[in-house]
């Protein structure tokens, strides 16, 4: 039996033959059970309704990555989770949640639902900023239509899906990096709403910044 565990768990392998302690087995079992429960729950499909009325199906665990959806589900106080599937679609009342955006969001949570949760204790400002996006995320977020991209980020922000907002934020950051103000305006299609006087005032206030432009 011990041999069995040492094959299954990394702890067992690291200990190279030493039987794992009971605690380790318990932790492992608990983790495994939780994992299985999440997996089971994700087989239950719930329906989400975009602002435009489109209805999209999504695994329960995946949908709960949206803190907003998770709260709404909690508020239902439904003990029989399978009943959630047959309920009315959950409406997402924000104009950023377009059909296209919701479709992409569902795609993202379906891919990421079994990600390990982010540990808030290790949420280091700098490290988080330097971390690269995964290849999958890069491809996912590389959307030519800027309106659609912004809708997805705004919708993810509205639905409170931290991981996805982060992906969008990093993507836009990569696009902004190294660009001048004019280039940023061109790229994001923003028009300069400063009056010449205001601009001159900012310029003067922080002359050292723009001396190099």
């Amino acid at each position: 039996m011990n041999g069995e565990y040492s094959l299954d768990t990394t702890e067992g392998m690291a200990a190279s033959g030493d039987p794992p302690t009971n605690n380790a087995v318990d932790d492992y079992d608990a983790e495994e059970a939780l994992e299985r429960q999440r997996e089971e729950e994700n087989k239950i499909k719930i329906k989400l309704k975009s602002f435009e009325g489109g209805v999209y199906e999504c695994g329960l665990t995946a949908a709960k990555m949206s803190v907003m959806v998770a709260n709404m589900l909690d508020a239902l106080q439904e003990t029989d989770l399978t009943k959630i599937a047959t309920r009315e679609p959950i409406p997402l009342q924000n104009d950023a949640v377009t059909n296209k955006a919701l479709e992409k969001i569902v795609e993202w949570v379906d891919h990421h639902w079994d990600d390990p949760p982010i540990d808030p204790d290790f949420d280091d400002e700098k490290e988080r900023r330097n971390e690269e996006l995964s290849h999958w995320d890069k491809q996912f977020i590389d959307i030519a239509d800027q309106g659609e991209l912004f809708d997805i980020i705004a919708a993810a922000n509205f639905m409170d899906i931290k991981g996805l907002v982060e992906v969008g934020a990093k993507h836009i950051c990569n696009k902004i990096k190294g660009k001048s103000c004019t280039e940023v305006r061109e790229m994001l299609k923003i028009h300069n709403d400063f009056t010449p006087e205001e601009e001159a005032a900012i310029h003067k206030e922080n002359e050292w910044i723009y001396a190099k432009d």
């Binding site: 435009e52 009325g53 104009d95 379906d110 922000n157 934020a169 950051c173 902004i176 923003i190 601009e199």
Partner: protein, 233 residues
Amino acid sequence: MSSDTNQSNSVVVVNSVNTSGTGNQVLNDDVLIHIFGNLSTNELLRIKKVCHQFSACVGSALKMRKTLSIGGNSGDDVGDWFRVVDYIDYKHNRLSAISRQKYYDLVANYCTLKSILKMCPNIESLYLADTRMDYLTLDLIITGCPQLRHLALDGIGYLLNDNFVSNKFETYGDQALDTICRFCIEKMVKKNEFTLYMSPEVVKGVVDQSVAMNVWIPDNFHIKPLQMMAHSQ
């Protein structure tokens, strides 16, 4: 794969308005501040002038910054904004070719430093590498960063040698370092915890000298080697 396509197609797209709906806003402030959280301080300062919304959100993002460095290699580095002074390091490279070193001149760019610190009032860790300072700038740093808990002075080990002390880099000598410590202690006594990080070879000297000179080091004031900065940041 999981969409109810029939239904979604039946709803004719109403959006097209919503991205440009509110005039110039491409994204709401929340999201924009979040995006800016991923940009370096350097980048933020540069894009401030894009539009009103950017300017405001850059301001908010900078207020949330906790770390800043001048002359380091991190993304937070704002060294670009300071005049760089070249000097030639003869003494330490006798065996190799003469090497050029760069110095960030905080003394000559006092106003720049002042406005950066003003924009980032919540800095907790400040990392200064290869910088030229005097007491005015040190005072500015300590009074300008009320939340400061970690201050690192890197690359000043070289300057301990008479060579450069006499060579216009009048700031750091053994004595200067000692005075920096005294200065920090004096200004920081009221604070909870404060750590000054310096090159390992300097730390011992400074501590020994302080003890020898009977400088009182309060319990909440620490002097540690630079390597330990990583753990605290």
